[in-house]
Amino acid sequence: MLPARLPQMPEVWRLESKPHKFCPGCGHGIVLKCLGEAVEELGLVDRTVFACDIGCSLLAWDFFNLDTVQTHHGRTLPVLAGLKRVRPELVVVAYMGDGGAYAIGAQHLVASAGRDDPVTVIVVNNTVYAMTGGQMAPTTLPEEKTETTPYGRRVEENGPSLRGPELVASIASPGAYVARGSVARVRQLKGFIKKGLRAQVEGGHLAFIEALSTCPTNWRTNARETWRFLEEKMHKHFPLGEYAPAQAVREEGGGAQPPRKS
């Protein structure tokens, strides 16, 4: 008989807290696997601080063998921005859901992006408020059925769904890194997260990565329908790829910068 082997999970994953608390089929596990591997491959394990927000993302509070802090409603960002100012040698990762980052805590995201805080932000977008039972979030797709939009989200009433990376890219400073990946493209997502960590460590800039993710529990989908919703509907509405900060584009193009007062 072959010798028993331990599961091949990133070493930075905390084995005692596994199986983790996320639902079966939840994309959080895949994003956190990418993050764990990225942190390990860049050799940052000893100086990384992980911070999770409220919502399902907080279920990662004991996920890693890393110093971890949990805050509420998007305050993950200002907390980490403060931490980074006091201890600039640390690598800080803010891990949030779309509810925490775009709805309840949007002002912190906007302020951090404007200040270009050297923080790596990972926002997991599953189009619903998952922990509270699947209510409509800013990112809910048009016509998508949720607990609070039983007939589908109506754009004329609730507005179109919010696109986070586009928002951040439009206010981020030159040098900031903005991208959108998906748990259906695991290798690409891991690459984005690695670049995001580098942007913070090497460039001292904000890095913002949105990861499109799954929520079979609240979508009420089986595995096939879960992938279909993610890959057919979400990928179409939220284009994957890297987004150049608009400020950089404007500077390169000259003009468009407001005149400075002397």
Binding site: W13, P19, P24, G29, R224
Partner: protein, 309 residues
């Protein structure tokens, strides 16, 4: 058998995802459709799945005042953690129904309880049908145990609750109906064997039931060394390592497999749901898509030729 004063009070407990809420809802629906007063309320933690999930059901002729109560007439517990949790709802007159694989734990925890009935639901579902219909077997058994719910009403409520799934795959309807009938039979058998309710609920094994419960069946009791043993299957070019203690049975890998070799296994995993295994389609090409998308790191693929990818 159950004929309490006033309304019948039922508590069901299991792992999140095992399906006790569905059972409770169907029971309440069936009771309501049969002209009874009926109320069902769920109780579980912040995790939508993966914790112990409790369901409170009341059925009877009297108007129902409050959704929660302290002593139940009938308690169903279907995982180790559930058995530990329901102690507070047991009174001298309470009937405790539990899955047969929990026999030892129930005896140990509640030695003085007289009215306990073991139902080999998990084993019957796994051996005769599919582990996923475990909760429908339970539904059959408990519906029968109440002595109040007409079988047609239960069937009708089952149809209302799961009809949309049956519409997608009609073979599921037949399997669920069979599970329901088997549950009713198991209950009758168990109660007949009970005789004077000596507490020896020993009508345990259905036909073909020699296999003892595997470790992973016993719910999630934290990761003890040894429970991380993988199941190793060779298929095509790959050696498929599956860790039942980690696999939550989400099925993401099944859909991502380009040769569709992955399918459901009979073995149960971390949440009491089936794990996956290769060997259901074309031979494995060791592409590691399944390993890549597994949110729980429950799969690891080794190439049989030893080459690194």
């Amino acid at each position: 058998m159950l004929n309490p004063q006033g309304n019948l009070k039922i508590v069901l407990a299991g792992e999140g995802g095992q399906g006790v809420q569905t059972v409770a809802e169907i029971m309440a629906e069936a009771a309501f459709r049969s002209g009874y007063q009926a109320l069902y309320i769920p109780s579980f933690g912040v995790e939508q799945r993966g914790g112990v999930s409790l369901a409170f059901v009341q059925v009877g002729r009297q108007p129902i005042g409050a959704p929660v109560f302290y002593t139940a007439d009938l308690v169903g517990a279907f995982s180790l953690r559930a058995v530990k949790k329901i102690g507070g709802y047991l009174g001298d007159e309470t009937w405790l129904f539990y899955d047969a694989h929990l026999e030892e734990e129930v005896k140990e925890l509640y030695p003085s309880l007289e009215r306990r009935v073991a139902i080999p639901a998990l084993e019957v579902a796994r051996e005769e049908m599919h582990p996923r219909v475990f909760n429908v077997v339970i539904l059959g058994a408990l519906g029968e145990a109440t002595g109040l719910l007409p079988r047609e009403a239960v069937t009708e409520a089952l149809e209302r609750q799961l009809g949309h799934k049956f519409a997608q795959d009609p073979s599921l309807r037949e399997m669920n109906y069979r599970a329901l009938e088997r549950g009713q039979e198991l209950c009758r058998l168990a109660l007949a064997g009970e005789g004077a309710a000596g507490g020896q609920g020993e009508v345990r094994r259905g036909p073909g039931g020699e296999r003892g419960p595997e470790k992973a069946d016993r719910g999630r009791g934290g990761l003890v060394p040894g429970s991380l043993e993988p199941i190793i299957t060779e298929d095509g070019q790959g050696r498929f390592y599956l860790y039942p203690a980690l696999c939550k049975g989400c099925g993401l890998c099944i859909e991502k497999c380009p040769v569709r070799t992955i399918g459901w296994a009979r073995q149960l995993g971390a949440l009491g749901t089936p794990v996956v295994e290769p060997g259901h389609g074309e031979p494995c090409i060791a592409c590691r898509q399944c390993q890549l998308v597994c949110p729980d790191c429950a799969i690891w693929i080794e190439r049989r030729d030893g080459d690194k990818p």
